[in-house]
Symmetry: D2
Subunit: 349 residues, 4 copies
């Protein structure tokens, strides 16, 4: 293996931070060289600071890293971030202004008009929005990925929007507990239960979906103009957001045409050979009772959106179920793929 | 307590059959006098034949009853039923033809044009459909209640339909495992999982909702003419179907008007003092994260539909969450309330 | 109903505090008149301060109470407490010194040599230990109940110890999440999982069991001298601690004799007619696969210990399974029964 | 890859059968060439006959295999089996008599005095028991592995028995639902519950542990002579049996000595380089709250027994927790390792 590019992780001890570290362990391009977390962790090794909650071992090299303070001085050029929105709002511009390329899963800047909100297969072209950012003067920038519930939906909608044009989208989610981080959802709240509310989630899904499926218009993005209504629920699932979706299309399409659009979708990264891109971006499962989190969440190493149960809808045109891994495709894997896109596009040279 | 009316239970050892027996234990009007189940149970006492799965003790009187063969000869006049559709299709007409009043939770005759599909508060007037039934000549009849997922929905929709007129209804369900009976859903299929499919459930919800909210038209029912699209999912909840709903109304209504319609709804049984009718048919909970199965399923002894999260919908007018107890309001309690309605209306005299 | 005795609740918004309020709602002797919680709650009504997590409605009278500061000035004579051990250690003596009768579920003083650790049916006679307490001079005292996992075990062991003499006890617990309070156990830690560790739990079980089954010796208690080894696990159960137990007895006993000892056990409160005492203190279930939390936890309104699966042990004499409700018999109900005992014994006159 | 040895699977559509197929997909020595299941599956392809329940895709080559009748005519020389005991009792001798090497997870012949019950690292030397089998005349034999709950225990006990000598063993299990196959445990029985009973499980654990840890004595095995008492519970975990264990040793040992015995244990296969043998047979985790199924079940690709929480026991010497994967180390992986042992020992030449 050639020399790998050193990367940093902001929020390294959290649920998504741990996934960054897991996904980067054997990465061909990047290597974790710097981890930062809240002040109470600094001065400790990562192994001491982190309550590791994944079912693979903590990578030994990272275990021995000292946790740095969350400031850009010592950070490498490329920094992955996943921190609370309020913290991100302050901290991410500091890193960008200091010349760092901030690839963030935090929500603070997703809807900022100069910040791209990227799913590489869907809207890699939005990346050029970064050119407007004042932070570019120092070589830095901020690039975001969507909310964990929005990414799975948009990945499944993109082929339909491209081929047939979306007019209306109705979506109800059944979201996994890992989406709330750790400790996150109290067990007394979710064991044998459904919680029909996740703060700000419906708003994020609705606005982010339109931005991600929007078109570049000069230097900015013109949001897609379909109507969308989201309802978000929490269920007792560890990983994987399941979504019941109904859509109205501008151009009528048969079931076969829709399924073909999904299975054949390669998107804007088809020629780029990004290491974390799944072979199949969207997989349509013809079985009557799929997708299911327990069986399908890890398809494509957690990067494939699984779709099933396509059938006519009495109100709109078609209804179907989408499943995607909320911590991989919906968070850490999403950011990683964004970083790979940036490297492929020359931003890291 | 006066002499109570003897009643029989067809399918007495099943999940719903056990609930009939639990709910009838201290009932002021009815007393379980006859239990029938499949052939392999006959000749045993109920205690021997039944794998009791409720968290209250099996009533001692019922425990000692001998399980009868499932034929009408020995059955009392009033028979509650909950058996597989295929069995119900054969057996329920035999009981009705033999002069029995069959109050059934089975699905076989729900959509039969001479059979009423009743939620007493919503459409007690449909009961007179029984007059058309040929079985009435011998004094028998068949009266049904809806599918467990349809009843909660329709109970919440009824006040809106009455006050404002329904035009469109979207519903996505998250249904409890008890809805599938026992042994029903395998634990490997649902622990930490969502299954996005329940056979025939979406079709039942869609067609039953329209029949229940329809209007009497001569001797029959004219189904309500709103459009409805249902998507049904199974989740790891013991009791209580949660439903994310969106509606379009003919007459525009404010949130306050809608909430008032729910909280003030008394329906067609307001003056009847039916023992199992809840004080509040629909309860609107203003908390941001309710209703939830674990906390709200037993409201009104499991007979109240809980509603929450009323908010505007970008596609239709309003969206909200409904919860109701699938085995009580959605099955055994539903049938029991139907029987109480029939007694109040003089059918048992 | 006569005038009821006003009582206070320290830690009123916690998991056990809420249970106190639920259990006291229709209590014949006591009435909640004062609620206290942490500083951030004071100045609010109970309804505002408390995230109510029980599946029955918050009692309206209590909902309207203002939350008091946690100091004895305004408190009634009888105060129920359930707070963190560190807080209890400071606060409970203040209340006792101010003349309050503190009936506490907190662990701070359970092993204090002047403080009784009571299960009324088992060791009501230990109550006279309070006479030694210096707080008695002002009319106050502290009375404790055991850890939630110890109470179920000791309730099942008491009839055996009394009849046959315990020599050795081996116990492995599978404990419910509600035992950790709210938010308590993170859902990511327990959904589909077992956690083989609960801090200090094994030590508490071992030492408390011996004190509770000990004998009065002068003014103090001589701990019972059997050997006991406990292993404690957390499982994904809402309420109800299940325990696999094995025992060696001084006097050999047959299965029938042991079952009779359990079923006939009435204990030291047989003649007292305490309102919360269950008709059956220990219930032996002869079914091969019981007791189970889902089916049996509420037996005797959550105050009965359920026992099953008595069979010979290859190492000691007998093995069996015990289940008891950790928040009722194991916490709030335990303290309530202690208060009832004190009233019956004249301590509240 | 060289030509691989064709193998057959008896009971190929079951929970363990599916695991055989998953584990064999990329196996360096063996290749699935024949699958058999119950009569209703024969004439179908494996893909048609099998309700695949694993979260990796069904291997394509196996998907296209026709399901054979369960008779030895068409079977390859080496056959893996996992079928109900009653079926195994008839069928496995037929295969062995027809010259097949039957490596079985079924329980029928585990305690047969001519049949070895093998964990290769623990008792590879027991394999020579097959020489007594009359089926050897035709070249066939039966080799078994232990019950899923016994294997994890024995793997953890073996280093202690070897180094210090076991005298007494207490064990309480918390077993995963996958141990009961599919559909197996009904969701209504286990969601949020503990079931303190698994038919015949305690007996199997007790007798199999002694046989596996026994010594060859002439042509047979002399069971180890420690005393053992097992209590078995089912919990809501998908994969991984957790066991609370307490032991008395003949030779006193310190915690460090015990931990060293575990971590350094290589067993009887150290020199054989079996492909499915884990690098670490037993892994001691020093964290205070481990092992846990969710985090540790897949250690060593599901072949390592994880141990933790070693601490003194008030009754015996030491107590600790063991976790092992019940379907891999406890069933399919166990049989596969047995087959690898047989190949390494020349039985397949």
């Amino acid at each position: 293996m050639e020399q790998r590019i050193p990367v940093g992780i902001l929020g390294a001890t959290g649920t998504v931070g741990q996934r960054f570290i897991q996904l980067l362990e054997h990465h061909p391009w990047f290597e974790v060289a710097w981890v930062a977390a809240s002040d109470r962790s600094s001065g400790k090794t990562y192994a001491e600071a982190c309550k590791w909650k994944l079912n693979t071992a903590m990578p030994e090299k990272v275990a021995r890293l000292m946790v740095s303070a969350a400031s850009p001085e010592s950070a490498p050029k490329l920094v992955f971030a996943s921190v609370d929105a309020a913290i991100a709002k302050e901290m991410e511009p500091q890193f960008a202004a200091a010349g760092k390329i901030v690839i963030t899963n935090s929500s603070a800047f997703r809807m900022h008009e100069q910040v791209p909100l990227i799913i590489p297969e869907v809207n890699a072209d939005h990346l050029k929005m970064v050119e407007q950012q004042e932070w570019r003067r120092s070589g830095g920038c901020i690039v975001t990925n969507g909310n964990c519930s929005a990414i799975g939906l948009v990945t499944a909608l993109a082929p339909l929007h491209e081929e047939f044009g979306l007019e209306k989208v109705f979506v109800v989610t059944m979201q996994a507990i890992s989406g709330a981080g750790y400790p996150g959802v109290a067990s007394l709240d979710i064991l044998g239960n459904v919680v029909p509310y996740i703060a700000k989630e419906e708003e994020k899904m609705e606005e982010e979906a339109k931005k991600m499926l929007g078109r570049m218009n000069g230097k900015g993005v013109l949001p897609a103009d379909f109507a969308i209504s989201a309802q978000c629920n929490r269920v007792a699932v560890e990983d994987g957001h399941t979504e019941s979706v109904s859509v109205k299309l501008a151009k009528k399409a048969s079931a076969d045409e829709i399924i073909a659009a999904w299975n054949e979708f390669r998107g804007q990264t088809a020629s780029l050979a990004l290491p974390s891109a799944p072979q199949q971006v969207v997989f349509y499962d013809a079985a009557p009772d799929r997708p299911q989190p327990r069986l399908d969440v890890n398809r494509g190493n957690g990067m494939t959106a699984s779709v099933g149960r396509l059938r006519p809808c009495n109100l709109l045109d078609w209804k179907f179920t989408v499943l995607s891994h909320n911590v991989i495709r919906g968070a850490a894997g999403a950011a990683l793929l964004n970083a790979e896109l940036m490297k492929a596009k020359g931003y890291l040279d």
